[in-house]
Symmetry: C2
Subunit: 352 residues, 2 copies
DNA sequence: GTGAAAGCGCTAACAG
DNA sequence: CTGTTAGCGCTTTCAC
């Protein structure tokens, strides 16, 4: 069952072994090294030699063996990203949209994205093995909802990584990061409602232990105050779930009678829509609602849900840019990058 | 245990070079091969030797270098999956849910998932390079909405792959596949409405060139006919978009007055909800609606959208099982696997 | 500009 | 059971 002399045989479903540098060299009548140069440093070759080699490469359908190249260059051209299951019932498909963008942006920089699972209870699981086995060149760290132990851990190990999300809890961190200005987003949403003559605008946000949540909330309160509008009695902090948003909206409606809601997530905003629905109030006409993240839910719900949209495509591009900087020789450290969100205006915030 | 004399230096952000087999061997006082055996064939070692080696491995934090192992074993333990951007405004986050499951299922089988981008206009782009550079051991092919040129292409190259989706257009294919019985799902939805005493149940489906769409449609018509219910004038085929679903539902409502809708997707079902909304009809109470795919939209839309749910976790497990079979020596070909969907019942199909 | 030699870290085959 | 030998396919010196 072993490979004899020159005959590459098909092992199970695996096709004949692909051509190697040596095969190309033989066909082109040059040495292996010259083929390598043709691939990696074409400017070193004489024009006609180069063409001859390139023809041989094309004829054979040669592509350098990744494992061999990785071993030699000590680089895998892979970026690892932990991909934990989104909890169901949450409108938060944000990460998925980001992954798509990341895959595309990485491809342009010559990188592939390696997804790995991790024990949800251990924020650091999965990284260690990939790092020690040099399976990836760097990581993209995303799940920074509550603090960011991964960043601290990776920094300690001097592993190259870029975070999507600021190091809220560790301001002394020096790793590259890319983030979206949540406060600006919430302010954008609030201003949008204020311009439509709303004055009692409520905030439905996340538990206080979420840095992101507090950031977004600050945008709401800043926008309100800058227009001289009161905020007291108009805010609440709950779990990120439809039911929580519904309850919170019901309570706020009963107690303070807001005419507008700005929410920390589309999930919460959907909860607000539920509450309006129950009371026979129509979104947009009676009460304005703005969500956050511009999920698919916001886009297809009847009437449409106005929502703050994060520029995830740009985030991915910046992440890859930072990654490329980290991995360059010498490394070029890219400082933190903060991007501005936009507002996708739909029926839930407009009188029809 | 720290490194001796020739201390590897830190290159930029790259940490000290990780320990190798030789380092472990030296520390444990055995040969490199013994360490390799301790990792790959522990049963070959004497208990005390094994323990000594394992201690050394733990002390050093050793993990086999992937590239070297890949080169030697001609396997990367990576499965490639093309990840094309989902079109926005579509409730179809199905693939994302699948990817999550796939990552988890793969991890248990010792595989990581490599995502790659591809030119959306060329269904085969991206595969070729990965295959020739032996960067992945196999592929998971998913985007089989309209036919499946990838499968044919990969089969021709004898590349190992498993498809999520049946080879509708190439029944002569012999590759492994896993799919969900769409006809059964639609029948499930239809029966659900029939049991609630609906008799005029409409079908809102996809363009006729979609095999999947026709399959699902057949489940509806079969269920209707088996109860002696008429189907004529109750079906339409449109683009998979909210607006199309809305128009189609409006037309059907005006012309045939159905009291129930079964849709080929949640996106279309959302369109139906729009149409009901416009006419002041309440989903569930006045008209029943069932979607397909149980997207997050179905879960969070006010009232909830009843939807056919594909068992994606199981699909992923079966895909990995088939993959493992393909990659085993000798390969064990797994035949096609067809899984049954379930129905997630929510407000849109129940009188409240 | 091109070629020859060396070796990245690992594991398959064999010898002891 | 353990150690020795060889080489996966590639790139990095360094001669020519």
């Amino acid at each position: 069952m072993s490979r004899t002399a020159d005959e590459p045989l098909s092992l199970g479903t695996i096709p004949v072994s692909p051509p190697t540098l040596a095969d190309v060299a033989e066909l082109a009548g040059v040495s292996r090294q010259t083929v390598s140069n043709a691939v990696n440093n074409p400017e070193l070759l004489r024009a006609d030699t180069l063409r001859r080699v390139q023809n041989a490469i094309a004829d054979l359908g040669y592509s350098p063996n990744r494992a061999a190249r990785n071993l030699r260059t000590r680089a895998s051209h892979l970026v690892g990203m932990r991909f934990t299951p989104a909890q169901e019932g949450t409108a938060n498909a944000l990460m998925d949209r980001f992954v798509h963008s990341l895959v595309e942006a990485s491809a342009e920089a010559g990188y592939h994205v390696l997804l790995f699972a991790g024990d949800p209870t251990d924020p650091v699981s999965g990284y260690d093995d990939l790092l020690r086995s040099t399976a990836v060149d760097a990581f993209v760290v995303t799940d920074t909802f509550l603090g960011n132990p991964q960043a601290t851990w990776l920094e300690l190990r001097r592993a190259p990584f870029v975070a999507f999300g600021r190091p809220w809890d560790t301001p002394e961190s020096t790793h590259p990061w890319v983030d979206v200005d949540g406060a600006a987003g919430a302010a954008l949403a609030t201003d949008h409602l204020i311009e439509a003559d709303h004055t009692k605008i409520a905030w439905v946000g996340w538990r206080k232990d979420s840095w992101i949540g507090e950031d977004r909330r600050s945008g709401w309160s800043r926008a309100m105050r800058s227009r001289g509008l009161v905020t007291s009695g108009l805010a609440c902090r709950v779990e990120d779930a439809v039911a929580s948003g519904r309850e919170a909206a019901g309570r706020l409606l009963d107690e303070s009678g807001p005419t507008g809601f700005v929410c920390a997530s589309d999930t919460l905003a959907m909860g607000v829509l539920h509450a309006l629905d129950e009371r026979g109030l129509q979104p947009g006409r009676d009460v304005a609602v703005v969500g956050f993240d511009d999920s698919q839910v916001a886009q297809v719900v009847p009437g449409g849900l106005t929502s703050v949209r994060q520029p995830l495509e740009d985030v991915a591009v910046e992440v890859v840019r930072a990654l490329a900087g980290l991995l360059a020789t010498p490394p070029k450290m890219v400082p933190g990058v903060l991007l501005e969100p936009t507002l996708a205006v739909r029926g839930s915030s407009q009188r029809r």
